[in-house]
Structures are given as C-alpha cells and as structure tokens.
C-alpha cells in the first residue's frame, strides 16, 4: 500500500514539473513549486515508512516551514518589486 502511495506522489511530481515548465505565467510556476514542496514532504514520509527509517520526518518539517518562505518571497517581490518594503509604507491600492 505504501508503494502505491509512493507511486501516486511521484506521479504528482511529474505533473507538477510539467506545469512548472509549461506554465504561461510565473504564478503557475510558483503554484507548481509549492505543490512539489508538499509532494516532497509526503514522499519523504512514505519513503521513511517503506525503508523503516522514520527519522526522515525532521526533514519534512524543515520543508514545510521553509516552503512558505520561498513562496512568500517570490510573491512579495511580484507585488512590490522589492523585498525590503513593508506594507505600511505603501499607498492605498487594490
């Protein structure tokens, strides 16, 4: 059963990479990157169970915490064109 789960998650990798390469906008690529991050966590967990070494899970926590940072950095850059600015200095928009 874990093998089936591993195959499913690996297939999800393939689809997400396809979207990341094809994606017409940058947001598609970011979405695909986010999905690959989640899929990598699940792949780690499933592989840890398949090989009976569940200490891989620490790395999964690292992924989960740091995936958000990369995504937010890209999006913030797009929104403001600058990583340093805070939202309070912005004029009212949206």
């Amino acid at each position: 059963m874990f093998t089936a789960a591993a195959i499913a998650v690996a297939l999800a990798h393939v689809f997400a990479v396809y979207r990341a390469l094809k994606g017409p906008t940058v947001f598609d690529r970011v979405l695909a990157a986010n999905t690959i991050g989640t899929a990598a966590i699940l792949l780690l967990a499933v592989l840890g169970f398949l090989t009976e070494r569940p200490e891989f899970l620490d790395i999964g926590i690292t992924y989960g915490l740091l995936n958000l940072i990369g995504t937010l950095a890209v999006l913030k850059f797009f929104r403001y064109g600058d990583l340093a600015r805070s939202a309070e200095e912005e004029p009212a928009d949206t």
Binding site: L65, I69, L83
Partner: protein, 139 residues
Amino acid sequence: MKLDLILRVATKLLVPFILLFALYVQFHGDYGPGGGFQAGVIAAAMVILYAITYGLEPAKRAVPPAVAQAMIPLGVLIFAGTGVATMLLGDNYLAYNALDHHNPVHGQHLGILIVEFGVLVTVAGTMVAVFYTFAGRGR
C-alpha cells in the same frame, strides 16, 4: 492599510515555531539529522520571513544589523576558542577529551555541542547580514 493581514498574522504565529525548530535541529543534531549549519540557516530564514512580511525596518529593529555582523566573527571565535581552551587544559588543539577529565566521552559530547553552536552563530549571522545588505540596497 492592513494589506496583508492574513500574512501578518500567519507570520506572527509561525516565527516562534521556526526558531524552536531551529533550536531542536541544533541541540538534537547528535541524535537525528541536523547540526549547526542547518540550524543556522533555519534561524536566518526566520528573520528573512519576518523581514519579507513586515518590511525591512521592523526586522532591523528586532535583529539589528550590527548584531548580525558581530555574530559572524563571534562564531569563529567560539570554535577556535574551544581549541585554545583544550590546549590550555593540557591536550591537543580541538581534542575535546580534556573538557571533562573524569569522563572523556562527556567531554567529547560537550565539545561537539559548543563547536556546533559556534557554527550556528556564524552561519546565521552571515545569512542575515548578507540578506540585509542585498535587500537594503537601492532604497
């Protein structure tokens, strides 16, 4: 003007957990994967996340650039100072057995922890300082 309200609240809740996890990776590195380098990077990522969501100035108030820059040589000093300390205690450079005369194994363990802490300080300081300089340019 609260544009990113959800992001702000989420970041505020997430930052302590990232720091806690960094410390876990640091001090649990003897038993599981991880160590000083990884923990330093995670701690720096925490500061960067804060700076991304709240802006550079609040992050600079929380972790002043002078502190980050002072951390860079401080870590190397901790590392090298451990070696000097073992030399003063009458053994070779970086031979941690001298740190505890009664039980060399405990000395080794203690020495490894101190040295990893030095690596953590250097790595975190370097990453944060480099991020500050890059992000602060051109403003």
